[in-house]
Structure formats: C-alpha cells, structure tokens
C-alpha cells in the first residue's frame, strides 16, 4: 500500500467532516485525559511521599517493637506503637561496635501527643523524646538557640526545642527562647526554636516539642521502653549488613531462634519506599482502569460513526472497487481512518491531560504548603497512545469489513 497516498486519502476523508470527527473522538479525548490526570496525580502523591521518606536518608534504619505487620489491619500495627521489647538493654547492645560494626549513630525515640501550655494558651503538640542525634538525622537546625546535649539526656533535663507553630501558638510574636512551657504539670525551658520545616514523613516538626528521651520517658509518658530505635550507617552500602547484625544482636539478646518469633522488626528507607510505591501504584492502576471504561464507550462511538461513514460513502467504495481496489485495499483504507481518528484523539487527550495535571499541581501547591511537584506520567502517555490506536483498530474493523464486502454495482448506485 502506498503510504503517502493513504495518509492523504485519510486526511481528506476526515477533514470533510471536522466537527463530526471531533465529536467522534471526544470520548477518547476525555478518557485519555482522565487517565493522564489520575496517573499524574498518583505519581505526584507518590513523589511527595517518597521525597519525605528520602529526607530520612537512605542510610537510616528503624527498629520497631513487635513483629512486622502483615497489613494495615494486623494488630501488630498497634503493637508497633505500644510494644515494650525495645529498652535501654537493647539500645546498649546496638550501640556496641562489636555487635553492629557498621553503625555510626543509634538514637532511641519516644513520641506522643500531649498538651503543652503557657499561661492561658494551650496547644497539643507531638512530643518527641530523642537524643541530640535527631538534629543530625532529620536535619533540624534551630533558627534561634541550640540543641540540647548528651548531658541533658543523662541528667533528664527539662530542655526543650519547639517547632515554629508551637512557638506561634503559645508565644505569638514574642521571643520564646529561655521561656517556660508546661507539659504534664512540669515546666520545660525552651533552648531552641526550629525554623519552618513542614511534614517530614510521620512527624510534623512545626507542631513538635523535642525533649531528651530520658525526660520524656520518665516525666511525660511514664514508660521504660522506646517506640523506635533509629540507626544510621556510614554509607548506604552498609545498610544490609547493619540490618543483618541488628537482627542477630536482638535475637540473641531475646533468645529467639526462629525469625518468625521476632518481637521487633527492622525497616529501612528502601523498604518503606517500596511499600509506598506498591500501594500508590495499585491505587493508580485501579483508578486508571475505571477511567478506561470511558475509552470503551468512546470506542463504541467510533464504531457507530464509522458505520455511518461507510454507508454514506457506498458509491466511493464501489468506484474504488471498479478501478481495481481489492477488499484488502478497502479494509485498510477504513481501518486507517478509524486508527488515525482515535490516535489523534489519544494525542489530544495526552495534551489535555498534561494541561489538566499541570493545572492541578499548581492549584495543589498554591492551596496547601505541600511540596507537590507536577509529574508527567510517561507510562500513562504511552499506554494512552497505544490504547487509543488499539481502539481505532478494534472498533474500526467491523465497519471496515462491511465496506470491503460491498458489491461494486450496488455501491455505484445501480439497482
């Protein structure tokens, strides 16, 4: 088949009815736009969460009490917040270089929402008990004041670092440094105020009060265990070895022989990223599949219009056959038309979807303080173009076949 002429023929057939051609592919355009928009939003959300996970650093490992939850409804999820398998003894053995040689920093973590007050002002911040290492691990540098030290941890001092939102709620415009706030009837002296930081994975540091973990355990939460032990390695390559050594150390400490009986689990940034990616991918695919229904509807519209077109152009088909067109030639001609039509719809849909996605990203960024970035969904674009072409072929085949079977005499308008 002569490609250039076929393209010309297709173009002239479709351009004869611009508005009809456009209305025909509207369903495809909307379907592909929706596909693009959903994928772009899914990808944007995924990137946002992943970037937050990555702020933890790829060298960060979290040791969590309780066994690894098998799903969101597993009661091990609850245990991961209230399990008491991680205590000073576990912390000490993880800090021993001979047990876990690849580790550079080990930091226990306790946290919970409490009421903090100053005079008549109250606020419910997330109280985080940590060591000064939290500054390094989460990249927290006070805008005024300093971080507390190991001495504060050892002495259970009442030094506190507060987030910017806590400062604004309790102190307004006035200076907070050196002032006192009350948590659980006990005063804490503010030694540092954090700059605006926003949400970092599970913690919103703007709404946090950070105190030495020993202080938090004793005076705020009244517990002797840790909610997490955060471990950092020297390099990313050390992570797998560190995980192995942490597991071995804790198992021998707890007398566990079968990993099934573990009363803790070790999560790495890579693992968390993977889980989030899987979840958001499944969600995106599911929503995309729903939007694909409109593509099927669009395809039926294509078939309908192509059938009308074939009937209208009966005499053209007859003429072409009289001039020597084979059934294959006619079939190909009409298939190319529907294929071109739907592929054009697909391309228009990709362009429109991109515009919508970009607009949504802009709106989300301006309405929230999320660091949401526009993501061009390459996969959706490719899938969209392939699907739209496939719809043209699939729903065009029957009208094209009907055209190819036309009897040239009837087609020429004779009785």
């Amino acid at each position: 088949m002569k490609v250039l002429l076929s393209v010309k023929t297709t173009y002239s057939a479709l351009s004869a009815h611009w508005s009809r051609s456009f209305l025909t592919i509207l369903g495809i355009i909307i379907g592909i736009s929706a596909l693009m928009l959903i994928s772009s939003l899914g990808k944007g959300a995924q990137n946002l969460i992943l970037s937050q996970i990555q702020t933890l650093g790829s060298k960060t490992i979290a040791v969590v009490p309780g066994r690894e939850p098998k799903g969101p409804t597993d009661h091990a999820v609850v245990e991961s917040f209230y399990g008491n398998s991680l205590k000073e003894r576990e912390l000490a053995s993880l800090q021993k270089k001979s047990n876990v040689p690849k580790v550079s920093d080990v930091m226990p973590l306790v946290f919970g929402i409490e009421t903090a007050s100053r005079d008549k002002e109250t606020f419910r911040p997330m109280v985080i008990g940590a060591s000064h290492l939290i500054s390094k691990i989460f990249n927290l540098v006070p805008q005024t004041g300093t971080f507390f030290t190991d001495d504060d941890v050892a002495g259970r001092s009442s030094a506190a670092i507060i987030g910017i939102k806590v400062k604004e709620e309790l102190f307004g415009e006035s200076d907070a440094l050196g002032e006192k706030i009350k948590i659980n009837d006990r005063n804490y002296r503010i030694v540092g105020v954090l700059p605006k930081k926003g949400q970092v994975l599970f913690f919103n540091f703007d709404e946090a009060v950070i105190v030495p973990y020993t202080t938090a355990q004793t005076y705020i939460f009244g517990i002797k265990y840790f909610h997490r032990i955060i471990v950092q390695t020297e390099t990313e390559d050390d992570v797998p070895f560190a995980v192995r050594d942490i597991e071995a150390t804790l198992r021998s400490l707890h007398g566990i022989t079968d990993p099934e009986d573990d009363d803790f689990f070790v999560g790495t940034q890579a693992e968390i990223s993977e889980t989030f990616t899987t979840v958001t991918d499944i969600l995106t695919v599911f929503l995309a599949a729903v939007s694909a229904i409109s593509l099927v509807v669009g395809g039926i519209g294509i078939m309908n219009i192509m059938l009308v077109s074939v009937t209208e152009r009966t005499s053209e088909v007859g003429l072409r056959k009289a001039l020597g067109a084979t059934e294959k030639n006619i079939l190909f001609q009409f298939l190319l038309e529907s294929f071109t039509l739907t592929t054009a719809g697909g391309i228009a849909g990709i362009i429109m979807g991109t515009v919508f996605s970009f607009a949504s990203a802009t709106i989300i960024t301006s309405l929230t303080d999320l660091d949401w970035k526009f993501a061009f969904p390459m996969t959706a674009a490719l899938v969209g173009i392939i699907i739209s072409g496939a719809i043209g072929l699939l729903f065009g085949i029957y009208p094209a076949w009907k055209a190819s079977r036309k009897n040239p005499i009837e087609a020429l308008g004779y009785e």
Binding site: K8, L319, R320, A322, L323, G324, E327, L412, Y414
Partner: protein, 239 residues
C-alpha cells in the same frame, strides 16, 4: 482469439418471489481494437451486460471469456487486478472523488496497481494531456464543467493503459457540445491508440460514432451490424 467472447449469456435477478430475466441468451464476440456500441431502451439489459463484461457482476448461465479466460478462473484479487490493469470504466455520473484534485482522481487506479510510485505522476500527466485538461490539474471536480468532469473520468480510465474501456452512457448527462468532445476523445483512443471501446447508449446518434452496433431488446440481441455512415465528432472540438 477474440478479446470478448459471450455465448448464451443469461442473467436472472431473484427478488420478492419474482424472477427478473435481464438477459436471456446473448451471444457475440468482440475483437481487440473494435469500437462497439451496445444500444437499447431502458430495461433492455444493456447495463447488466456491461457489468458482466466488466467483471462487476456474474452471469447466471452461459459463458463469458475475457482474453480467453472466464470469471470463474479468477480469485477476487485477480479480478480486482484485471479491472485495474485491463479495463477502464467511464460512468454516466462521472463518479469522481469530490474532495480530490484532478491529478489525484486520475492517479487513483495507479494506487491500486503494481506501477511504481515514481511513475504515477508522469502517467497521470500523460493521461490528462490526452484529454486536454493540463490547465485544470490541481482543480477539484466541483470547479469543472460536466464535460470536463467526464474527460477527467476518461483520463482515469486511460491511465493504466487498459485493453478495453467500458463507457456507460458517457454523454447522458452532458450538453451536446460536451458530448461531442467526449465522443471525439473515445474515437481518438480507439483509432490512434488502439483501445477497444464498448459504449452503452440509448441514443442512435451517439451509437453511430462506433464502428458496430449491437441492439438489445428484452434481454436478447435484436441486431448486430456494422455502422455504414459513421459520425466523426471532429468538427467544433475545442479544448
């Protein structure tokens, strides 16, 4: 061996319980290079005969051989190929593609042929030159007069240099001057280039441009005679 050999050809249309006998035993042969007019009033079966001769339809009974072969000897693709390479069609209603230029209309049969694409333009130009419409080459049919449209249709029939040109009432929708031009072109193609022409008409005057007239009546041949005083359309031909 005659180019066209027809023996006891019958065509019966079945429909609504009534069988219509369009052709009831027609026999004749046409040699290469002849200019034959098939005449008859409407309903005499002349269009049916043309469709069968042009491989657009099949007879119910009897024998039809084109160049020694019957339609039964061919596959659908081979029939399409014969229509493309050996037969040219000119219709009463011109049947040009309205949105395509004169050039594209004339090139259309080439696109279904095995002629290499780089030869299309020269062949199409030659065919358009033969009917004297070089200056209209980029126009669409809507810009042409009826006579010009029919000349484009002749160029299209001509472009693959067919053995035979079937012309079905080619002057039926034209004024007498345009009709004359069309008849002159057909005569030229027959006399100077040796194309076999089979012309269908109900007008005696038009039929007398041919060298032989087969008259049909009620699906039978009424007469088959050479034309004694042949008309020549040369007077008044203007490009």
């Amino acid at each position: 061996m005659p180019l066209i050999y027809v023996s006891n050809l019958e065509k019966i249309y079945h429909g609504d319980g009534i069988d219509t006998r369009a052709l009831t035993g027609v026999s004749f042969s046409i040699e290469k290079g002849e200019f034959v007019a098939i005449m008859g009033p409407s309903g005499s079966g002349k269009s049916t005969l043309l469709h069968i001769l042009g491989f657009l339809d099949r007879q119910t009974k009897g024998e039809y051989r084109f160049d020694g072969k019957a339609i039964e000897d061919f596959t659908n693709n081979q029939i399409a190929h014969i229509r493309n390479k050996k037969m040219g069609f000119v219709f009463q209603m011109f049947n040009l593609l309205a949105r395509n230029s004169v050039l594209d209309n004339v090139r259309l049969p080439l696109s279904y042929s095995d002629v290499p694409e780089h030869d299309w333009d020269i062949l199409a130009h030659n065919a358009i030159a033969a009917i004297g419409l070089e200056h209209r080459i980029e126009h669409t049919p809507s810009k042409l007069s009826g006579g010009e449209k029919q000349r484009v249709a002749i160029a299209r029939a001509l472009v693959n240099n067919p053995e035979v040109i079937f012309a079905d009432e080619p002057t039926g929708n034209l004024d007498s001057k345009s009709g004359k031009q069309v008849m002159e072109i057909l005569q030229d193609l027959n006399e100077k280039r040796g194309h076999t022409i089979i012309l269908i008409t109900h007008e005696t005057y038009t039929a007398e441009h041919a060298s032989r007239i087969i008259k049909l009546f009620d699906g039978k041949i009424e007469s088959d005679t050479p034309v004694k005083h042949r008309h020549h359309a040369h007077d008044g031909f203007e490009k």
